[in-house]
């Protein structure tokens, strides 16, 4: 029915989309773990990052390498600004206030972008060295595909090690489990939260470049559904779990692409619905997500 090459090819596309979801999910899961905040504004970071690289490297012609490094700095800064301007004052208040604020900030950023860059999609042209075509017997891919997969895995490993081994990472996990006791240990909670926002946002903004380079087109609203799906990945993997977020991202990416590639064409338009069907299915079988721990009730 389908050749092995075709299935492998599509799986690879799914893995690439999965990389993007996973990287976004990382930032969302650590922030959720500590603040119980579904940070919708996180999705805006991928859009901001994509346009940032567009302006730096395509409009102004700086080398792409420079654009990539600058977008990491830009994302970090935006994360810090969001943390301090949007959320810090609301801490200790009802969790729903944080949620509404994050939706508000997402909407603000999206509309702001719509105003300054226009509602039209932008073509994201990358230099030739990112578009070298490789053909093997089973797979055809571009250098950018390889770059996305390799650097995503590198980021994920680095991030996991940071969370697992570093002093700040341990403090982050402690804060996620019990904020009050973490404070008693002398951990400055605000600092831990800022680090979570900065790292997550830097990664998300960087992911914006992947999106542009892979799909060749960026638009002011690209972050919305992507952000929502990244959060679905977080929930599927188990809220608050870093390996879970990555796993959830890959499951979602691969399932989304394969559902389009392998199901009859008339199902293609349901690709987003399929993502949510997976969510519902996973939650029915394991309510805490694949790698999630049962949530204790927080007083």
């Amino acid at each position: 029915m389908f050749s092995l090459g075709y299935v492998l090819q599509q799986t690879m596309n799914g893995v690439i989309l999965g990389c993007i979801y996973s990287l976004l999910a990382l930032g969302m899961t650590v922030v959720y773990g500590i603040l119980r905040l579904i940070n919708f504004a996180h999705g805006a970071l991928i859009t901001l990052g994509a346009f940032f690289v567009y302006f730096v490297s395509i409009s102004y012609g700086f080398p792409f390498i420079a654009g990539i490094f600058l977008v990491i700095g830009f994302g970090s800064l935006m994360g810090l600004v969001l943390d301090i301007v949007a959320y810090r004052k609301l801490r200790g208040g009802p969790e729903v206030a944080l949620l509404i604020t994050s939706i508000g900030f997402y909407t603000f950023i999206e509309n702001f972008l719509k105003l300054i860059v226009s509602p039209q999609p932008y073509a994201f042209k990358t230099p030739d060295y990112l578009n070298i075509l490789y053909r093997t017997q089973l797979l055809t891919f571009r250098s950018i595909d390889l770059f996305i997969i390799v650097s995503s895995i590198a980021i994920m490993i680095a991030f996991s090690l940071f969370i697992k081994k570093s002093k700040m990472g341990i403090a982050m996990r402690a804060t996620a489990e019990n904020l009050e006791v973490a404070n008693m240990m002398g951990i400055e909670i605000n600092k831990v939260i800022s680090v979570a926002f900065v790292l997550g946002s830097a990664i998300a903004a960087f992911t914006g470049f992947f999106w542009g380079a892979k799909y060749g087109q960026i638009s002011y609203d690209m972050g919305f559904l992507t952000g929502v799906k990244a959060f679905v990945a977080v929930v599927v993997g188990g809220v608050g779990s870093v390996p879970g977020a990555m796993l959830g991202g890959f499951i979602l990416g691969v399932a989304e692409i394969l559902s389009v590639a392998l199901l009859p064409t008339r199902f293609a338009e349901y690709r987003d619905g399929i993502v949510f069907a997976i969510l519902i299915l996973v939650l029915l079988i394991k309510p805490s997500g694949i790698m999630g721990v049962k949530e204790e009730i927080r007083v």
Binding site: K167, I170, A171, R173, A174, E177, N178, E180, V181, A182, N183, M184, M185, G186, I187, E188, V293
Partner: protein
């Protein structure tokens, strides 16, 4: 002698509900001072306020001659105060080693931290065996040892112990109290909160009886024990 800790006219409210009203207590260096009293009397609230987790509406906390009433908690930790919270308050999802390590969070003397870690393990050999285990899998007694061990990792001058014997078997409680006296010998001053008053009074130098947010009685253990009312209500006859 100047007290290590002097709490004066402290009042704390939960919303509009008063939790502490004009509490004054003193803890002298090298002593064990205990706060006893019924559930909900305000003992835990007192400790949390000394640690800066709760903010007082009134009164002052002076520690080593310095007013720390408005100081943020992490700074108090650096001033060598530590709170071993009620119900252990260990990080269940972290390993034993990570828990201990977090006790020393404010310190940066890595070699000293490692030697303190070894010291904790020699004090609590069972923690060494379970070093890489998730703390949530420990028994109640082991969790309490971990909480105290974690507290010691911060090298405190003043340790606030909240209900350490809660939910522990009598044999473990005895072991625990031996440990508390050992900690005292190492130069750590202890402010102890207990519902299990018999044990607490036995090891203390001075006792405060707290009732509905107030100091009802205070004195040396002998005086307190000899009071008929106290015996009946708090010491089980």
């Amino acid at each position: 002698m100047i007290p290590l800790l002097k709490v004066k006219n402290l009042s704390v409210k939960y919303g509009v509900i008063p939790a502490l009203q004009d509490i004054s207590i003193e803890v002298k260096t090298g002593q064990i001072v205990s706060l006893i009293g019924a559930n909900g009397a305000g003992k835990t609230t007192t400790l949390k306020t000394i640690m800066g987790i709760l903010k007082p509406v009134n009164g002052s906390i002076v520690y080593r001659d310095e007013d720390i009433t408005r100081m943020p908690t992490p700074q108090r930790v650096r001033k060598e105060i530590c709170l071993v919270p009620e119900g252990r308050g260990i990080f269940n999802r972290l390993t034993v080693r990570e828990n201990l390590f977090l006790g020393a969070y404010h310190r940066s003397d890595e070699q000293e931290i490692n030697s303190d870690l070894e010291k904790s393990y020699s004090l609590f050999p069972r923690l060494k065996e379970r070093e890489n285990q998730i703390a949530g899998t420990l028994s109640g007694g082991e969790q309490q040892m971990l909480a105290i061990g974690r507290g010691l990792m911060s090298r405190p001058k003043l340790m606030l112990l909240d209900e350490p014997s809660l939910g522990l078997a009598p044999l473990v409680v005895r072991e625990l109290y031996e440990l508390i006296q050992e900690i005292l010998k190492q130069g750590v001053t202890i402010l102890l909160v207990e519902q299990n008053a018999t044990m607490a009074i036995r090891v203390s130098n001075y006792v405060y009886l707290i009732e509905t947010g107030n100091v009802k009685l205070e004195g040396i253990p002998k005086e307190i024990e000899s009071l008929e009312d106290v015996r009946k209500v708090y010491l089980g006859g």
